[in-house]
Amino acid sequence: MKKKIFIAIMMVLSANLMNAQPITIKSEKVASVPLREINNALWTAATEYIVPIFPQNIANPMLAIPSVKNLKVKSINDGTTVGFLLEWTDSTKDIIVDADKFCDQVAIQLPMHPDTLPVFMMGNKKGRVHIIHWKGIWQNDVENGFRDVKDAYPNYWADIYPMAEKQGDGTNGKFAKDISASDYSKGQGNNFMPASYAGNPMSIFDRKEPSEECMAEGYGTLTTQTTQNATAWGVWENNTWKVIITRPIVSPDKDDAPLTAPTKIAFAIWNGHFENISGKKHYAQWTDLIIQK
């Protein structure tokens, strides 16, 4: 019962917001989609759509203080790959995660069944959504390498890390602290890295792509897809994040949302500086999306 009321409220909300801002994002056909060059002429030439952004205040935990007002969206495709350039103002570059540090993030969301449109906030039971999520910390992993304990605390000391294959004893100037997270995770040391041992996608130490493809059927159901065929790249300059997210238009992965017919797209933004995380995010609800042929 509660859920039905909740979905109804979300639908009214969607309707209101849609009436206010009718936008159709048209993905323009170009020769190729630059995956990482945010300032490539093909991106500069594309039409820019301004999508209004709102603080998530529907379910706990909510975002109390919003810090992003709108998102500039561009989309191009080359017949095989579709790309989205997402741009928003953020005066701080937050690409580190720690006990008290949060990173900037952005995500796009596509419905699996645009005809029976699920709620815009992470979908709903049997109304599955496909999400592609870029994270500042993952961008840092790929660009600058995994931030190990030694990188965060250059002067720290560890006597031993149990079960490390090579126990740094000072030979060749190598000590326990010099054992990398990646090396540690490959041997028995993984017993002491519970999330890595459990195969958690958060605990990957040699990441190649700063994007995560997920699916969801409502709050708290976000699940990493088995096949990852999206890409992402983010650059922060002039107090602005510019993030490119791409994926195949026709995907062999059955968990990827269809794109050939007109569909919808939604967005979410997290500002790490203000400790945005989980539901403490900004969102834009469903917007029309057409991939031009």
């Binding site: 109390a64 006990a99 999330a195 041992y197 995380i277």
Partner: protein, 376 residues
Amino acid sequence: MATVKNWQLKKDMKYPYEENRPNKQIAYIFDTNKCIACQTCTVACKTTWTSGKGEETMFFNNVETKPYGGYPLKWDLNTLKMMGEQSWDKVTGAYKGKTIFDDTKGENVNGWRPAERDYAFPNMGEDECSSNVNKGAFFSGIHDTWMFYLARICNHCTFPGCAAACPRKAIYKRPEDGIVLIDESRCRGYKECVKACPYKKTFFNMVTRTSEKCIGCYPLIEQGEQPRCVQTCIGKIRLQGFLSKPGEAKADNPIDQIVHIKKIALPLYPQYGTEPNVYYIPPIHVPTDFLHQMFGPGVDKAVAAYKNLKNDPDLLAAFLLFGNTPKITHHYKREGDFTVSYNEAGEVLAKVPMTEPVYVRPYDDKDHGTFRHNTP
């Protein structure tokens, strides 16, 4: 928000989920009067569970010196300050104030998140007294300055703040023993639990980028053994067992006898509302105002009962089980001059004499032709 019954507060309170008590509830009793802060428990836990990368400053078990110590820094003061002044009903002993689940405004739990540095001083305030000992006071007997050691682990709360705050429901309470666990395959490192746990007993791992917490040594519990930190306790201050649901206490369960029946061991900061399941025997030499804030209104009676322990053989028999068997005592019985511990199947685990025999050895050992004296 649902309404649940919190027996420690003697009242109904708000909680995001329906009341769902486990079939068995893991519980611990810590006697603060006996702890010597040797940190054997801390090291036993650390070497067993948290000596990997990213766990450098993580202590599922820590022992801090009160009044000034605290790990992470100011873990208790910050929550007390956040909640403001609250009160207990002096007549009924019911809690009249707010819990961390009240007036939460856009969150499920009111909390605060420690900074990275707050984990850097696990022995802050160690061995420091409440005030300076005046010259001469040491020699003239009891003085009014005080300190005590507070051993802390996760409380495997009946209404866990950590689980209430996790938007992914990646934290769960096991129905078979009430142990609260983080599903390490589903946690995404949102740190909502770190913020919500009023005891700051969930920790963020900067390498795996997920949160971790005390696992109640569940692999041991499943084999009928007490946790590492309990088995290794040098001061024999700890006892782990299972606490019956309120109103179902059994006199032959030592945990029930001590917590529910004699009410001599009390929850830590019960006013937070999570119904924590580590029960403390308050330090008997500490000013009661301080203890009321920390352990609630049951303090005076608990201290009096503790002082009277030698005249209460059933209670004393339960106390003698501390540190005398690695296994979990489900029942105990006073049999003549012994207290006997039994496991779930009714097998004897240990037999402990109620009074230890005393041998007085002569100062002058004629057999060996030597004198015995204490050599420091």
